[in-house]
Symmetry: C2
Subunit: 387 residues, 2 copies
Amino acid sequence: MKNFIFQAPTKIIYGSGAEASTGKEVKKHGSKVLLHYGTGSIKSTGLYNKIVDSLKNEKIDFIELGGVRPNPRLGLVYEGIEICRKNKIDFILAVGGGSVIDSAKAIGMGTPYEGDVWDFFTGKAKILQVIPVGVVLTIPAAGSEVSGDSVITNEEGLLKKATGAEIMRPKFSILNPELTYTLSAKQTAIGACDIMAHVFERYFTTVKNVELTDRLAEATLVTVINNLKICLGNLSDYNSRAEIMWCGSVAHNNLLVTGKTGDWASHMIEHELSAIYDIPHGEGLAIIFPAWMKYVYKSNIERFAQFANRVFNINIYFDDLEKAALEGIKALEDFYIQTGLPTKLSQIGIGSERFEEMASKCTEGGPVGQFVKLSYQDVLNIYKLAL
Amino acid sequence: MKNFIFQAPTKIIYGSGAEASTGKEVKKHGSKVLLHYGTGSIKSTGLYNKIVDSLKNEKIDFIELGGVRPNPRLGLVYEGIEICRKNKIDFILAVGGGSVIDSAKAIGMGTPYEGDVWDFFTGKAKILQVIPVGVVLTIPAAGSEVSGDSVITNEEGLLKKATGAEIMRPKFSILNPELTYTLSAKQTAIGACDIMAHVFERYFTTVKNVELTDRLAEATLVTVINNLKICLGNLSDYNSRAEIMWCGSVAHNNLLVTGKTGDWASHMIEHELSAIYDIPHGEGLAIIFPAWMKYVYKSNIERFAQFANRVFNINIYFDDLEKAALEGIKALEDFYIQTGLPTKLSQIGIGSERFEEMASKCTEGGPVGQFVKLSYQDVLNIYKLAL
């Protein structure tokens, strides 16, 4: 086990009707608020009105900025920063999924910074001061509601980059599983796939003696798998929605990496895909992860056998752990297929045309990943395996 | 799943050598510090000198108050409050186990309060303001390093009572598994038993559809069980010490009760024992929990069967879940016996003389517990089962 620092400071307010406390929570942190949201689904579901009423009940002054798209854009972040500066905004309320939250965080870090907010994403500047963010979550997937991270796409050059800081963790996140009933089967599966990917990035590690962290991760994976199956049978099932939503936050508050080193290569490989093709991140991960697993499993067959056994109940023959390892990867692929996810690039109309460009951008800072360090050629091979 | 609020704000600084950062962490929160500790073992192990050096390196002004005993006493808390008021202390550093931390918390809540600090324990007053506490942990057991709770024994009448508040959670807790090498096999087993008890109190619930929380709890129990066995074979084994120590904090930061209602009857039943007989809390729990389980399991045989199967790998015959439930309880008792813990009051020289008095004190506020509500007669029966 490695030394670590762990803290989960975001206040989670969880359950049926939880969004009613939005105004009260906001009031603890700010008086002039930017209400940030997506392309309007919160208006059709009635959530927008509930939030506005809750803010008005507490006499909170707010300005709106909607329009966040999946793979959130730097352009809108600039716009948000302008609004915040002009109106002396002191708190940002993100109502939506990971894209809205990431956009809110970027605005939060960019507003007090004199330079270009993109500097934080290129590593040119360090996040020292932020406008705090609060969240009402509508899509369990990204885990951004508990993390200090933000992923933004720069339209110029289609660069998708991540940055983060502890002080960027949301002050509170309101999680009501009922708010996720309107997600389609496909959106739900994509979200669950993103959640599982966050666990995988932390689970596949070269660090030994991490039993508790391993078992907590396996517990989370098993719960997502069991409940996604139930949920897809009834999209308005509170219990399975509730399990998936809570898994999404537990998967990404860094509890599941305590004592370990995360990998994150698959995320980087996928980011190149969604930056260029604008596909949902979780869909890209359903394609990239099985390919990554097939490419790297030989470097630690025991860990993949453990995964197969503890997560998918694969029977183990101790004289042939590779068999179990491969069965585990197959079980994951089968699960994705069962839940309607693509597992091949060709299924979503992506060919090999830009593989070299993506592999090159992905590794421009050097090899990626920790479990296995992946060079340009490795990343290229993984794209090919995913075809 | 029930609605809940969850937050784990205590900064955990974990690993080999972690205590070196004590001064730096303290400095973020206070300038005039009360250094609070036990009956001197930190001096013989050299930890005391390390802490003092670390504080001096940061030029932090501090005053000492040692002498905390297991089942920490109200008398010393009063003394600490006096010192804090007289010296305008603004931060309390607890170096030790749960007793030292609980004592520090009581001093922290009592200092700014004009009345008697015992008011918080009797429910006469609410904790609104505190002097913050930081921790260097030496005994993984109580989980007080991450909780907002404090348990204090009032020497007058041997009353052991608990209180708590979110604002009482330590600002930071420094956890170095190496600091636990000096714990004897017995102390280690007692600590592990306390950790497991914290999970049990949250695991045995009447709330349904809490799959993630259940599985996280089971993961924690399995890890404690596996690693206690390893650790007892080599008390200086870093890896098993590390697992147990981290389990102790995960077990008690309230993650494992999210969506559930905790029970806490066994803790209350045990508190009467340790208040009168001054036995280690964890030892009392090794005796009370199996008795409690035997007394209540019939009210939810399925949950006890799940416990048996998932934690102790007991084979399930689905037409006889009671068999599995009973085998699970037996496996727990056997595990305690294996690890050198008593499982009967008679083994530690306690007879039935004061059972009525204890059952009466335990239930003076009405029935205790949630899984099953226990009356005076029930508690008396459990003491008898534990004989």
